[in-house]
Amino acid sequence: MSLLEVKDLKVRVEEREILHGLSLTVNPGEVHAIMGPNGSGKSTLSHVIAGKPGYEVTGGQILFRGEDLLEMEPNERAANGVFLAFQYPVEIPGVTTWNFLHAALNAQRKARGEDEISSPAFLKKVREVAKSLNIPQDMLKRGVNVGFSGGEKKRNEILQMALFEPAVCILDEMDSGLDIDALRIAADGVNALRSPERAMVVITHYQRLLNYIVPDFVHVMSKGRVVKSGGKELALELEESGYAQFEDAA
């Protein structure tokens, strides 16, 4: 059984259809890159997978381990192993990163029928992960993402990814707003999480990110559909020729 199956997905936002029958199959261990021009529906796909309100699914389905993902609340999707790294992580003043991560991890464990993690065990775990991502301890005591730089926010997303150990990670424009050093740190963090059980869907506008996170498959999206799929060499091809050819094809 595939880990994540998107079948002929049609999605509307308000009165406008954004996805017009998108299909994508992701198996454990695979890294898929989704590329495409602005407005092709890449972020919409990530939002619908995570369960963001405001999107109306008018056709098709999304199966996660064979179960209907669209029937689950966003928090249930997270507990089941779906993780979205946000393009623009929000700031939550007054809620410390520390407190937030502990509450979220325990909520996920509780939902799966596992015991809650104790504060000392949690402390140890977060410290290890934070260290590997070069995240200073005092950042964890601050409000979630409050006063963080763009790079710090993205690293905080990867910290959470490492902590929650999801089965499928959707990385939405992880490279936006990052300089080359920040990008490398973030990509190293992601690569460290690659495993035969875990799948990743990397959404990006530019080929650059794929030099660091090398995909197994590349899909080109245009106007709400996947118009071409191939191996990692497709990304390089796109870098040469641009997206214009596909806009005509769609």
Partner: protein, 440 residues
């Protein structure tokens, strides 16, 4: 129709005052003051929306009548009160319990008083004919009808004197418990006199005994803070969900004195807290903070009057309201800077969070400035929880109510953080937590 009902209600209360007179301590001058206060109340009756200060809290519509005075608590009532007080006990405090309008010595910690601390029931002070203390306890403005009514009807309370230089290591905890079996009203009045260079912390809790539902708690607190003294005050209203709590605090500060007062209202059907703070000595500092956490059909009103009468004083107000269902929160904050009060630094910020479409929050900040060299400001906002934050938190696995709870805690956090004592801050957080858990 209304007029007839009002007259009948008024007559019933007049009879109650007349018949209760022998239960109301204080003779001579105090008895005269009570009569004057009752006449002042009678002239207006229960306040209604056409009285500007009461326009959001129309007691004529909400309360309709003042219930008869609660009988003195019997053994069963005292037992229920003891259980309620125990449930909300705070470690390391000196507990003073008022049950159904009467001081309950057996439930109170009166042993081994610290040096410089004197505690007596108000009734005893009045019966003993202590003129100066009695006069101070009843020296409240009778222009407000409900404060006037309290002055007429108060049956008991505590009178606490702190001698110059005394620093109380142990906070005082006044527990107001309603414990009767029949709907009734209780009127209490307490006085704290802080001498020069004193440092005192007071906690007040409003509770109901098991099975006690509809009642009216009317309390008046009078505090005089001496020069260079510090007073910390934490007030927690956890009354029964059918109860009325119509209370006031009148606090004056001497020179270089410091007041830090915090109020949290999560209980009661209808509550109104009128807080009047007067900076009467130069160089004093005031922090007044508050939180309303209400739902269902609760109505909670905090009305603050901050009076800067002298120069070089600073005041800060932070107020937060979280309103769910069809509840109604009111914050009225008036800052007056009198002509002599140059170099006043006064700021007030009030924010309301509406959790439902039917929730209502009225914020009325007012500045009246008669001095020209001052720094004053106020702000008020009302809004809902940020959907993008909620989605982010849910995408990390938090169920909606838990995500809301974290955001609500953060929202009220700034006001709660103002509590100076770590232990009492934890008590306030635990009280807020109970409200959040009850709605989860």
């Amino acid at each position: 129709m209304n007029v007839v009902a009002k007259t009948e209600t008024g007559r019933a209360l007049g009879d109650a005052f007349a018949s209760a007179r022998d239960r109301l301590p204080g003779k001579g001058k105090i008895a005269d003051q009570r009569r004057q206060a009752f006449e002042a109340y009678e002239r207006s009756g229960l306040p209604h929306r056409r009285i500007e200060d009461w326009k959001y809290t129309d007691l004529r519509a909400l309360m309709r009548e003042v219930l008869p005075l609660a009988p003195a608590p019997d053994a069963a009532a005292l037992g229920r009160a003891a259980a309620a007080a125990k449930l909300r006990a705070i470690d390391g405090v000196r507990r003073l319990v008022l049950v159904d309008g009467a001081f309950a010595p057996d439930l109170s910690d009166l042993g081994s008083l610290e040096k410089g601390l004197g505690i007596r029931p108000l009734r005893e002070v009045l019966d003993a004919g202590d003129g100066a203390l009695s006069a101070q306890a009843f020296a409240t403005d009778i222009s407000d009808p409900m404060i006037a009514l309290n002055g007429a009807m108060a049956t008991d309370g505590v009178v606490i004197e702190i001698a110059d230089g005394a620093v109380l290591a142990q906070p005082l905890h006044i527990v107001h418990v309603a414990s009767g079996t029949a709907p009734a009203s209780m009127f209490t009045r307490s006085l704290l006199r802080l001498g020069r260079d004193t440092n005192v912390t007071l906690v007040e809790s409003y509770l109901a005994g098991e099975g006690t539902k509809a009642y009216q708690a009317h309390d008046a607190l009078i505090v005089a803070i001496g020069d260079n003294a510090r007073f910390d005050h934490v007030r927690l209203v956890e009354d029964s969900i059918d109860a009325f709590n119509i209370s006031s605090a009148t606090i004056s500060l001497g020179a270089h004195a410091h007041l830090n007062t915090f109020g949290l209202t999560s209980g009661g059907h209808v509550s109104r807290y009128q807080l009047t703070v007067t900076c009467a000595g130069e160089g004093s500092k005031v922090e007044t903070n508050g939180v309303n956490l209400i739902n269902g059909t609760q109505h909670a009103d905090t009305t603050l009057f901050m009076d800067h009468a002298v120069p070089h004083c600073a005041s800060r107000e932070i107020f937060r309201a979280v309103v769910d269902d069809r509840a109604h929160s009111v914050f009225q904050g008036r800052i007056i800077v009198r002509p002599d009060a140059q170099k006043t630094d006064a700021k007030m910020m009030t924010r309301a969070l509406l959790l439902s479409d039917d929730a209502e929050a009225d914020n009325k900040p007012e500045l009246e400035i008669f001095a020209d060299d001052v720094t004053c400001g106020h702000g008020a906002t009302t809004g809902a929880l940020d959907e993008s934050l909620l989605f982010y938190m849910r995408a990390r696995g938090l169920p909606e109510k838990e995500a809301q709870a974290l955001l609500i805690q953060a929202f009220v956090g700034e006001a709660i953080e103002s509590i100076a004592s770590d232990a009492l801050r934890e008590v306030a957080i635990a009280t807020a937590q109970r409200w959040l858990e009850a709605r989860a």
